[in-house]
């Protein structure tokens, strides 16, 4: 049987949804890859300061190509801008900010997240492949809250939320909330609690796509986002 994948949020809708949970005044790091999209949907009227590992607070959006400056890039090495109020600092200070638990939120991608909050997002452990960790391990243990942005399942349909990570860990018991195309799931005291669920699935289907037992918030709400 070839079950169709339930249609949940698009990647940009998921970025929009995560952005709604970032409060006014927050200091936030958006990990390289998908999480950068969250920056496109930060709600108007909130002052949110974006941190970049290479030494920036107050990072602004991507510039027009003609204004790009190769000495002003983000952690993904893409050109960025500085907002009024921005600050630049060296690498040791940048990671003192991270490790010292001064960031309120970081948003990271994931290969796997375990029910106890373990995160695997830097290596599939494939032998011979060039490994690269960057700042992921520092961010995972450093930010007050770690949001994971991920598809609910792999392209092959395997659950990315699992009982125990089979890939090498980035950090142990670090994830606070998992945002997927199908659900928003809080990780508390080693348990998963679904706070929002996409209309494309019911509880049984969502549980079937998840590799660890799910609990349900008393006020379970639909996971929705505008067309973005």
């Amino acid at each position: 049987m070839n079950a169709a994948r339930p249609a949940g949020l698009t990647r940009n809708q998921l970025a929009w949804r995560i952005a709604q949970d970032i409060p006014d005044g927050a200091y936030v790091n958006l990990g390289i890859g998908q999480p950068v999209l969250v920056g496109n949907y930060l709600p108007a009227g909130r002052e949110i300061v974006l941190h970049s590992e290479n030494g920036i607070l107050g990072m602004g959006p991507e510039p027009a190509p003609e204004d790009a400056d190769e000495e002003l890039i983000n952690a993904g090495k893409k050109p960025v801008t500085l907002l009024p109020g921005a600050a630049l600092f060296n690498q040791a200070e940048s990671f003192a900010i991270v490790r010292g638990r001064h960031l309120d939120i970081c948003v990271l991608g994931a290969f796997q997240v375990a029910a106890n909050g373990d995160l695997a997002n830097w290596s599939t452990g494939a032998p011979g492949a060039v490994p690269g960790v960057g700042g992921a391990m520092d961010l995972a243990i450093g930010a007050s809250r770690v949001f994971v942005m991920t598809d609910h399942c792999t392209r092959g349909g395997a659950p990315k939320i699992v009982g125990e990570c089979s890939y090498p860990l980035t950090g142990r018991r670090v994830v606070t909330t998992i945002y997927t195309d199908l659900a928003v799931i809080d990780v508390t005291a080693g348990r998963l609690t679904v706070r929002e669920m996409a209309e494309a699935v019911d509880r049984e289907t969502l549980q079937g796509l998840t590799g660890a037992p799910l609990g349900w918030a008393p006020a379970l709400r639909p996971l929705t986002a505008p067309r973005v």
Binding site: L72, K77, N90, F95, G135, M137, D138
Partner: protein, 236 residues
């Protein structure tokens, strides 16, 4: 009189010998001391250990140093990128040793070396494969990993402005690893875009105090790594 200026870039790297550990500043192309790296290639030193956040891009700068077979071992946090074919092929062929270090731990190990700290416990990487073989200890209920300093024989750094005492200021996010690497090497060699008289950098905006710098060479118009990679440039 203190005058750390050297006449040309070849002289700046003339004593970097085989087997040296070289700290190379920069985060991707931002802050890469590309001209100093090219001078090091011309100098011919081999069997180097290189510490840099990345593994070099395209066929210039650090990637060219690797491609010329001069690097035995690299210490970095993220040698993967879309233009890192040289690193990948050397690594996959077993011609390059890699010590992978989380980015913040890399910065702090360099800082520790420059600050006379014998090591530090960090929660980063605790319980992961990157902590294997390292001393671990629980502090305030949190697992920590003992990390040791990384010292360089030489550091190659790009700055925006320098004076003859070696005081430095950096441009935008090109600062990155410069300030910690300057403190962590026995000999710190800086290419600066602009040389100014003493006092030309207002004291409260000096980022690296000159005490950490040994040699200054002026490179008024440093190459853009991004443009060079887009053009497909190679060095030599």
């Amino acid at each position: 009189m203190i005058d750390k200026r050297v006449a040309d870039i070849a002289e700046a790297v003339a004593d970097i010998g085989d087997g040296a550990t070289v700290l190379i500043g920069g985060f991707g192309e931002a802050g890469s001391p590309t001209e100093l790296i090219h001078a090091l290639i011309d100098r011919g030193a081999r069997d180097l250990t290189v510490v840099n956040n990345n593994g070099g891009n395209g066929h210039i700068g650090l990637a060219a140093l690797v491609e010329q077979g001069r690097v035995r071992r690299m210490v970095c946090s993220y040698p993967r990128s879309s233009d890192a074919d040289v690193f990948r092929s050397f690594y996959e062929a077993g011609k390059l040793e890699l010590e992978l270090v989380p980015q913040g731990t890399l910065a702090e190990r360099l800082r520790a070396a420059g600050a006379g700290i014998g090591g530090f416990y960090t929660p980063t990487a605790a319980g992961t494969v990157l902590a294997e073989g390292k001393e671990c200890r629980e502090i305030d209920g949190v697992d920590h990993v003992l990390e040791l300093p990384i010292r360089g024989d030489f550091a190659l750094i790009k700055a925006e402005t320098a004076d003859r005492w070696g005081n430095l200021a950096y441009r935008l996010a090109a600062r990155n690893f410069g300030p910690v690497m300057c403190t962590a090497a026995r000999v710190t060699i800086v290419q600066a875009r602009r040389l100014v008289p003493l006092g030309g950098i207002p004291p409260e905006t000096v980022v690296t105090p000159g005490i950490h710098v040994d040699r200054i060479v002026t490179v008024p118009d440093p190459m853009s790594e991004r443009d060079a990679i887009l053009r497909g440039d190679r060095y030599p």
